[in-house]
Symmetry: C2
């Protein structure tokens, strides 16, 4: 028998999967649209030159390339000769291409969201797929921290509406990080190494972190300076942040701002970063979910200012970090959107981890019950072939009342039709049997309670909606 | 400067495009769901064996194949060695694969719709793209014509709700066609040729049609038999069908049933086809848009019973056929869904031409005006940097009232902010200027009428909704 599985690392979404995915996507869209973000869609397939050189050595290996059509194969053919197209690898490069291509058609401040699949030839693993959705939102054209403030507010609203009530927004700024490293005495050529290690501190702990810095050839004294500062912040975190009182969290942020300011001294870029970060907190009136996280380092080659991440813990702000799930992140990347054009365009974005959100919601049973339930509100039976027209007519009447109606798709024994309705969890059955047809009535049975009653045709929908 | 165009034959969808597409897709989904159809999604990428041999010689050439990853290229490599995956070419083969793979998880009568892009390496032309959406609905597991009746009803409802009020559903049956060819004396080995010619009769006219049959080696006498029968039906069509009275259309169908019955005589398969076609009309109570079209021949190797097509004319049922647009078609194909398994599974489906529908709606200006309009209901101005927090707070209040609110994304001159709102067609502007901030009021300006008034913050949303 033929292999009927989807391709490796890819998934079929059966109806209950699609309903759950669409439920989450629907809320995301609704919230983003309420903030004035507009939908953009780009093709799955891009010219290979559009993607080449945009994702580094490692990313480049993971791009799915499409074979040229109708070409003669050559003994000396290289991969470059064989392929002219490739599958979309992320949503940021296509956005940059669209902005360059349509600069005159797009508003000056272009706020777009895009929820589409991307493809990566990664080794599939639990929760890692070769086809998965990205869910990006980006605001282009403004340097103001107002943008960051709105992104934090929008993402918070999405998670709240999905039913997450304990998540944390980690905020940091690339300029602050650089200033902290400068002030520690870590030279510019070692800063990327230090940040790569910092990015892992959550997983490896502070001791391993120090070891790694030594291995990377950073001077003992600088490591100690850096470590002392981080330790001081972390101790404030334990003292103030992991408290349940919002007031203490605000105090924490204030305290950390002062600690950073003292530590970085007169570093101009650092002061600018600090000012930017302060503005975000001011603009959001200290959003209760946000806090300064000096250890947040994500995606460094990319970001130029603010960096953000949303995490979920068993209980928010709990210091035990062995159960931290990232639900998404983003930041300001002023160099990227202009990659296809001449001008530098300020931009800030956030990418929600849609697949991760779906997994967590499934594990925690957070989907509304009706999504996993049936495809229809009511099943209309078919008494015999001569009565099919009548069953279809009743179904049409009920659909006019906004009910989802399944007509049993052939004439058969009533018992079988009831059993079928039950097996696919349809809550109501409308029986149009011999007597009902003769009297122009319908017997309505509630399969959950077992109750049934014979009603006039115009009473049915009202009763079901009750 | 880099090439920033999408790949050949592919399209970027800017926000107003996406809104229009989603509007149409939303109505299609809503109607199909009201008929108990459920959503299915399959991956863009399939194993190449899944697609191989399913689309004939010509189709096979148009499949986009994906280059294997990390393979050494070989001097003797064939295309087969180079590619293990391919892009989805249609939605039917993936459906058949899913049905075979999940036979036990799916309901006995599986009714699914699927609206996803497919990719074909076709030569791009006006209205023909290399990435385009298909929009399929299929009911699996029932032999009853109830299924066809529901498909006709659902598709009619979709087109009506989209605003098409003059379309025609052409119905025919593969078994009837075979019986008519038999009765004409056209031997089985020539029937496919005859049907291919028939499929084009709309375009080439009856004379060219006859010529083509002669060229294909069909006997003169058979052609005359066949031609006489078709001409007789067509003359009835002129007399009865292209009238505006529904009654005449019903008469037409009855008359054609009799003509077919007389012509095919005792042909068992033909009688069965005729019975099936009659049932569809009975079950739908002679849906005013449906008629028997003996010349309808579409996709022959595929279909085993009913065939259907929806067309649009400048005025429905007008005999002048130089402006006929097909908006979709389908039929019963009992052999196809079982291709990956052992059992034969009855199935009937319909594919709406989503891209065509969008083009026609655009040309005819059928989209609701608000879709091409702005992304937001109101713009909130930003007086200066110190007032950003207040502007964001007002925006949050208005969003709670279900308004879509754009905050001008930086502090700037008010005049510039008004101009921007106007340029992106936002109908209202909320001004939070110096005076308004001092008095805790908001000035609301209607950009369409030019009116403005200063209101309490809690009055704004009510006034906008008026």
């Amino acid at each position: 028998m033929a292999n009927t599985k989807p391709a490796r690392g890819m998934r079929d979404f059966l109806p209950s999967d699609v309903r759950k995915r669409n439920y989450v996507i629907g809320i995301i869209k609704e919230v983003y649209e309420s903030y004035g973000f507009e939908p953009l869609e780009t093709p799955a397939v891009e010219n290979i030159e559009t993607l080449t050189g945009k994702y580094g050595e490692e990313g480049s290996q993971l791009i799915f390339k499409i074979l040229k059509r109708g070409e003669k194969l050559d003994a000396n053919a290289s991969e470059k000769d064989l392929s002219d197209l490739a599958l979309r690898y992320d949503l940021t490069v296509p956005l940059a291409r669209v902005v360059a291509n349509h600069r005159n058609d797009l508003p000056k401040f272009f706020k777009r969201y895009q929820i589409q699949p991307v493809w990566r030839a990664d080794r599939p693993a639990r929760g890692r797929f070769r086809e998965f959705y990205q869910c990006d939102v980006d605001a282009i054209g403004s340097n103001s921290m107002l943008v960051e403030a709105e992104l934090c507010a929008a993402v918070s609203e999405i998670l709240s509406r999905l039913g997450f009530n304990s998540f944390a927004i980690h905020l940091n700024n690339r300029k602050i990080l650089t200033a902290i490293l400068d002030a520690s005495g870590i030279t510019i050529d070692k800063q990327t190494d230090a940040l790569i290690a910092l990015d892992k501190i959550d997983k490896i702990g502070p001791e391993k972190f120090q070891e790694e810095l030594i291995e990377r050839g950073i001077q003992q004294e600088s490591i100690e300076n850096f470590g002392r500062f981080m330790a001081a912040v972390y101790s404030k975190m334990d003292e103030l942040l992991y408290s349940t009182e919002t007031k203490n969290r605000t105090d924490f942020n204030k305290t950390v701002f002062e600690m950073i300011a003292n530590f970085i001294g007169d570093n101009e870029q650092g002061k600018k970063g600090l000012q930017e970060l302060r503005e975000i907190f001011d603009y959001t009136n200290n959003n209760k979910n946000s806090f300064v996280d000096v250890a947040l380092a994500r995606g460094l080659s990319y970001y130029t200012g603010t960096i953000m991440e949303i995490t979920l813990r068993d209980s928010a702000f709990k210091s035990d970090s062995d159960f931290v799930i990232s639900l998404g992140g983003g930041g300001r990347y002023d160099g990227l959107i202009g990659m296809f054009g001449k001008e530098q365009i300020p931009a800030c974005g956030f990418s929600l981890g849609l697949e991760r959100i779906l997994v967590v919601m499934e594990e925690r049973g957070m989907f509304p019950k009706e999504l996993s339930d049936s495809s229809a509100d009511v099943l209309v039976t078919v008494w015999n072939e001569d009565a099919i027209g009548e069953s279809l007519k009743l179904a049409a009447e009920l659909r006019k009342e906004n009910l989802r109606v399944l007509v049993y798709p052939e004439a058969d024994k009533l018992g079988k039709q009831f059993k079928y309705a039950d097996s696919i969890k349809i809550p109501f059955v409308c029986v149009l049997g011999e007597n009902e047809l003769a009297e122009n009535k319908v017997t309505l049975k509630n399969l959950r309670t077992g109750e049934q009653e014979t009603l006039g045709r115009d009473e049915i929908s009202k009763r079901i909606k009750e």
